[in-house]
Amino acid sequence: MVEVLQTIVAPVLLLAGCFFCFAGGVGVLRFPEFFTRMHASGVSDTLGAGLVIVALMLLSMNFNEVIKLALILAFILITSPTSSHALAKTAVRAGVLPKVAPEIASEITPEVELDKEEHSSDGGGPSKFS
């Protein structure tokens, strides 16, 4: 059972994770503007890293290492979507708008300016990542 896991399942998972990482890299390099690049990075980071770490857990089979790898996986699964969200929010607030759907951009823009007025009135006190 362990032999099958280590010789068949783990390499398949590892290669699938590497494929997703590579696809994300190509997307980050080739996509035309910021939000499509963020889609490529944010989707492939979570899935690729998750598959690679699960494959490493199967290859290791040492209790301490499996627990530590599970913790790393949990950290990545929590922090990667959070930082993607913060990145998108900061980019929209700073005026980087999507080019592919200008009608959505024109819907977003007045809201952004309204947000900026609110924040300039309160003097930028507490954190804006609510």
Partner: protein
């Protein structure tokens, strides 16, 4: 063997992310690329820990994941404050 293929793929993706970090036209592009580079570095450290059978490297990878997240959020907040003051770009 399979781990060396994975190492090669991850190193390629790290090179691509660095290329985007140098090319990136806007500052969020660069922050995105550096964040992606950090995630791939965590994977590389994990693979290195398994290859060299050095368990302490997994602790290093764990701390690296947290520092990567905190650094990314800090850079974003600095960028947002300087954008509000109108001093970016």
């Amino acid at each position: 063997m399979i781990l060396s293929i994975a190492t090669l793929a991850i190193l390629t993706v790290m090179g691509i992310a660095l290329m985007r970090a140098f090319l990136g036209p806007t500052l969020p592009d660069r922050i995105l690329a550096v964040n992606m580079f950090g995630t791939k570095t965590v994977l590389l450290i994990c693979i290195t820990a398994l290859v060299t059978d050095a368990g302490f490297l997994l602790d290093v990878a764990m701390v690296y994941a947290l520092i990567n997240f905190i650094g990314s959020i800090g850079a974003l907040q600095y960028f947002e404050r300087s954008a509000e003051n109108g001093t970016n770009e």
